[in-house]
Amino acid sequence: MKLKPEDLDKISQRMKATTILREGAGRVKITVHMGTCGIASGARDILNSFLKLIEKIDAKDIILTTSGCAGLCSQEPMATVELIGEPPVKYVDLTPDKVEKIFEKHITGGTIVKDFALAIGNERIS
């Protein structure tokens, strides 16, 4: 294939998800808490649900990552959703259905799903 100048943009667009992931600079960052407690209560399914939803709409500006236990083991599985420029939101007692709702309303729509949210913001780390 012989490239034209405008093809460079097409290739970049196709590669965007990878570029954003490598640069750690997405519009949205989802963190699924995968401590032992989280995994035991189904965090793996939560992670998979998010992955499937991202793939379904072919979103290129969402970073999905994992972290350890968030410290509230009784309300696992948990995930933190952070839209760029906004405070992070912690969601608790997640199920794949709840994930779908959060994805639709908060991640693509920009409105926090208050019913599932535990808190807005992070603990203070001195």
């Binding site: 294939m1 012989k2 490239l3 034209k4 100048p5 460079l8 290739i11 970049s12 196709r14 590669m15 965007k16 998800a17 990878t18 570029t19 954003i20 992931l21 490598r22 640069e23 750690g24 997405g26 960052k29 963190t31 699924v32 808490h33 995968m34 401590g35 032992t36 995994i39 992670l47 992955l51 991202i54 793939e55 970073i63 999905l64 990552t65 994992t66 972290s67 350890g68």
Partner: protein, 597 residues
Amino acid sequence: MPRSRMNLMVCTGTGCVSNGAFNIIGALKKELRKHSLQDEIQIVTTGCNGFCANGPIMVVQPDGIFYQMLTEDVIPHLVEEHFLKGRPVEKLMYTPPEKQAPVPKMRDIGFFSKQRLIALSNRGIINPEEIDEYIARDGYRALARALVDMKPEKIIETIKQSGLRGRGGAGFPTGKKWEICRAQPGNEKYIICNADEGDPGAFMDRSIVESDPHAVLEGMLIGARAIGASHGFIYIRNEYPLALKRIARAIEQAADYGLLGENIFGTGFAFTISVARGAGAFVCGEETSLINSLMGKLPQPRVKPPFPAQSGYNGKPTNINNVETWANVPKIIFHGADWFSSIGTKTSKGTKVFSLVGKVNNTGLVEVPMGISLREIVFDIGGGTPNGKKFKAVQTGGPSGGCIPASLLDISVDYESLTKAGCIMGSGGMIVMDEDTCMVEVARYFLNFVQDESCGKCIPCRVGTKRMLERLTAICEGRGEEEDIDFLEDMALSIKDSALCGLGQTAPNPVLTTIRYFKDEYLAHIKEHRCPAGVCKALIRYEIISENCVGCGACKRACPVEAISGDKKEVHTIDQEKCIKCGMCQASCRFDAVKVT
């Protein structure tokens, strides 16, 4: 392809590969499969990360977690803890010396945070063997602009305004070089990328080619357009197999996309590149020698003028630039001359890549803005000298350069300041030396190197360096006389004035700078027959300190010439007649009972 949520950027530069990077990749693949993570976590092989001292290295994205000194047996734990459960593994992270807490993120590590990347801006972020990854990071955009929107004169003007100077060592303004070549009559012109990196301890060019080969190709394409060349050569030494492989693959991929060949981007511009492999002769770094070698002749320099810009390959106008210079070109066209010239000092613009080696904690590849102090490079980025030894000097510019002493540590790293100190910027080799380094021996080492590599064409270089080497060897062996210093200085200046090419003209620099800054060491060798650093074999002796010796027999077993005697639990002694001063006894002693005097 399914979406991946995590990229494991595994360094596959030459350093990490020789430390087993491919075994790490094998182990990662196996463990990821075990946990069914292979679809959501992607392993990416990158070029040199730069922190070679701590390889094999892996950076985990999107979180930027930096793992170092990986071994196969830690991989199962790492995959389960971090990649499955999301808990980064602290014990595999970098901990700065004298600190307790590890630094998880790459960008927070001192080695990286003081660097400014232009030529190496894609290092560790892309897979150098995939052209799409280069394009995704704004690759080939500068070429599109240069071909579609800019006249060749405008390209040259931009490079001139940026202040870019040759990164091969001499620092000639790149834009001016192009302008001279463009102005020559005729339609058949050539450009060459000089990747014949030959300084001992230097690996900047190799790493650029290995980690971002398309940046070099794009730079050459833009240069070819500016000059009016239709064919280019990459002259690269054959002992760089990985760089050769990656550049060949990059050329193939660029040709598939029509970025090399006829009618590039539909503009009618045509350009092809071929790779020429060099046999690793230091003199081939010199332009006219390199061109002779390319043409299948004996690699000897010739008198200039005519310069290669007037008469080069096949007698046609030819422009040569070094790898790092070419890699800077696309960035300047893309971001503009003002952006580039805002970095650096008044006369030295942009950044410089150095390979930081020798007696320094963080050996590796660093790119820093011009004008940074030597102290920042050695101490803030390099982490200082290891084992609490005292810093003595930095050698820059390899066999053509000189030594900068501790008293000049705050010198600004730019072309003019280094030249004033008797040194040169050079292509970017930077060797750190501590109190255990003998400066006379360093001068002798480099002179021996140029004496080996001298092509023999002109007398000053062939014979002059030989005479100098004889005197230096005599000093190192305790046979020196005070007049030798005057002789060395005198001969050095004659060679500088009269040698035919850059190799000879700069060969005396290591001798001149060591005499200038470390004359006391020369005098100690000559007058007191003493090597203060304890290096020169003829002037040192190994002795056993009887108070410390417990008679364990370790040195006796280690000695290859049976020069040590003594009964068990008795103080041992060294027979000075038999001793070959190999130092094995000192290395084997656990009680600090062997000293060098």
